[in-house]
């Protein structure tokens, strides 16, 4: 028998991760805006000496937004909604509370060390897996702590059935664990020799084509299991909660979940089309990328149909706006990806700016929108105060939406222009353009992209201000809001 008394959930860990989501979101986007501006105005490369060049900062940008901002968001929401869907409070277990706090503090220290190591140029130069072995070991420990939190909470749960969001968080945990371990296998050179050279240095267990295969099996699925899986988990919780609507279809969520799990991992080799990877793998990557539309759109459509009959909320509640637009950008991005994975399209798109364009309509429009609206939904419940300003939420929404549109349209044009110029030949079959022609032509698009960065960053600052005000000085609530988050 369950007790009818309302549970008092403990949000101390969720709050900590909320703070780092805001901090790392700001830092990551600031660096992103800087390096976007460097491509348009190269003089900006010299602000910080050798530590400020585009090349040194690019991995700092990607890792701070992925492992700083996004993971903080994932964990803030997990420590918030995990308790609620499992009907158990963190406060009930001293052990889990300790693990949760340890998880946070190790993560925070690890994130700082990792960022400093990249600025110093200590890296194994694999995209999204740049960290050298000592930091990898720290990351494994942090990840295991999260696993203990998940399965610890699951172990003492009152609600026997795992809610959809939990499926996705568990999948995120397992998927990243498997891929990260395989991809980062390396041999520290210091220990093979008698302590010669730098202790941080290591060599990859895999070479050449094999290394590429493992790296993009990881690289693509880091996108899957960090940028997609837990974010879908978030929207399955926050959209019904904020709108007061039940999920449209359980069957559709089953199909999307298991479909996504099965299909996503195959698609990694679409990053290696026309490379020296065996042809059949490239073809598999292409085909499965197209199949991937089904489970991706399954989730997104399930979300949109959840709003059936309640579309008026879109005009009344800016958080619903964020979430609905997020699922729409998710649909755009998961249609665009498969198009780029078709071999003949990839021949033009690969190596061009269309690829970062694609990434950013996903991360800016889908991932960040979901995380920010999730944190907005959580704030009145965690801090027992209403959201500081609805007007600011609206302003932020329109600024950032404009920014995303400017970003992907400019990069579409830039990418396709460059791809076409690289292959253009004159009537005698000679190449028409030298490489530098194809760089110079991109200047206006790079400038537009830099502007979009400034807009998005401004939106994020408004978000941060609004959140901080909500935490500290907005009107106190006497009881927890049921659905729609109250805002002034």
């Amino acid at each position: 028998m369950q007790s009818n008394a309302a549970l008092e959930y403990d949000y101390s860990v969720a709050k900590l991760f909320t703070y780092t989501a805001i901090l790392f979101g700001f830092l990551g986007m600031l660096i992103g805006t800087l390096i976007a501006s460097q491509l348009a105005f190269p003089e900006l490369n010299y602000l910080l000496g050798e530590y400020g060049t585009f090349s040194r900062l690019r991995p700092v940008h990607t890792t701070v937004v992925i492992y700083g901002f996004t993971l903080s968001g994932v964990w803030a929401t997990f420590y918030y909604l995990g308790q609620r869907v499992l009907k158990v409070s963190m406060a009930e277990s001293k052990f889990l509370m300790f693990i949760g706090k340890l998880h946070f503090w190790l993560y925070f220290v690890g994130a700082l060390l990792a960022t400093i190591s990249l600025l110093m140029g200590i890296t194994q130069a694999k995209e999204y897996a740049q960290y050298e072995w000592p930091i990898d070991i720290l990351i494994v420990i942090i990840w295991v702590l999260w696993g203990v939190s998940i399965f610890g909470l699951v172990g003492i749960r009152r609600e026997k059935s795992l809610y959809i969001s939990m499926w996705y968080y568990i999948a995120c945990f397992l998927g990243v664990a498997m891929l990260y371990l395989f991809n980062n296998m390396s041999v520290p050179t210091y220990f093979v020799t008698e302590g010669l050279g730098n202790i941080m240095h290591s060599v990859s267990m895999y070479s050449g084509t094999n290394d590429a295969l493992v790296q993009w099996w990881w690289g693509h699925n880091a996108v899957a299991f960090v940028f997609t899986v837990p974010i879908v988990g978030m929207i399955y919780y926050f959209l019904p909660k904020e709108s007061g609507q039940a999920i449209y279809s359980y069957k559709l969520s089953l199909l999307s979940f298991w479909g996504l799990m099965f299909v996503y991992l195959w698609a990694g080799s679409h990053h290696l089309l026309y490379s020296t990877v065996p042809d059949w793998m490239q073809t598999m990557g292409s085909i499965f990328s197209v199949v991937l539309i089904l489970p991706s759109w399954g989730s997104a459509i399930n979300m949109l149909l959840t709003m059936k009959g309640e579309w008026n909320q879109l005009t009344e509640n800016p958080l619903i706006k964020f979430m609905v637009l997020a699922s729409t950008f998710y649909m755009l991005s998961t249609l665009e990806g498969p198009i780029q994975a078709i071999k003949s399209v990839n021949a033009i798109a690969h190596f061009t700016d269309w690829i970062p364009g694609h990434v950013h309509d996903g991360v800016l429009g889908w991932v960040a929108f979901m995380i920010m609206s999730g944190l907005f939904h959580m704030a009145p419940r965690m801090f027992k105060r209403e959201i500081y300003s609805k007007k600011l939420v609206e302003t932020q929404f329109w600024l950032q939406t404009t920014a995303v549109v400017l970003y992907f349209t400019s990069m579409w044009i830039a990418g396709i222009t460059q791809g076409m110029m690289w292959r253009a030949v004159d009537e005698y079959g000679n190449l028409m353009y030298s490489f530098i022609d194809t760089v110079a032509v991109l200047h206006p698009y790079y400038a537009i992209r830099a502007l979009s960065g400034v807009l998005y960053l401004t939106g994020f600052l408004i978000f941060a201000y609004n959140m901080i005000k909500t935490m500290s000085s907005s009107k106190e609530l006497t009881e927890e809001p049921q659905f729609r988050s109250p805002m002034a």
């Binding site: 491509l39 190269p42 490369n45 000496g49 050798e50 060049t53 585009f54 090349s55 040194r56 690019r58 991995p59 130069a125 694999k126 995209e127 399965f151 699951v154 499926w167 568990i170 397992l174 498997m178 395989f182 050179t189 093979v192 020799t193 008698e194 010669l196 240095h201 060599v203 990859s204 070479s207 050449g208 084509t209 094999n210 290394d211 295969l213 493992v214 790296q215 099996w217 799990m261 099965f262 991992l265 195959w266 990694g268 026309y274 020296t276 990877v277 065996p278 793998m281 021949a347 690969h350 190596f351 700016d353 690829i355 690289w422 253009a424 030949v425 190449l431 530098i436 760089v439 110079a440």
Partner: protein, 221 residues
Amino acid sequence: MFHWLEKNPFFFSVGVFVVIAFAGLIEILPNFAEASRPVVGLKPYTVLELAGKNIYMKDQCIACHSQLIRPFKSETDRYGQVSLSGEYAYDRPFLWGSKRTGPDLHRVGNYRTTDWHENHMWDPKSVVPQSIMPAYKHMFTNIADIETAYAEAVTVKNVFNTPYGDEFVGTRAAWDAYRPKVIEEAKAIAADMKNKDVKDAVARGEIPEIVALIAYLNRLK
């Protein structure tokens, strides 16, 4: 079945793991049976070249430059012969890159010289007026870590059977004995350069990063 899984987290997790691991088993592992075999005549990187490769990684040249020539006429016309799997057999990690903000470098050693690289890394605009690449002047003063590069050569020899000579042993004595060979190699590069500080450093037995990097770039053919 699904309702049952959702009430049994252990079996649920096992199910998820099996479903996501499946693709890796079928798609990734088979290729490991045929380990990357080197093309005929491929030599492992020299210690100086390895040090250069590590600078290429440290300063993340990979953020803007690829090392993969795809099988299109427009690419072979621009960059040279199409890339072959066996050419990467000694590349740990692979450095194909994913973005060409700058041109491909897989065969840059065929058409650029030490002199060109020296000018270009000091001030890209002096060679390519419209270039948006930053200057890497710090490479002319930072000293390359050749000891780590030597440790890397010994490691890949011992662990992965990369064919380095018998003199590659992981002791400090062996490294002290080998070090002069690296300096000799660096002197050959520095002889084609004009920067006075770089030449002086190499004469003293210190190798600025730029020398190692150029050794590596010249090797890419």
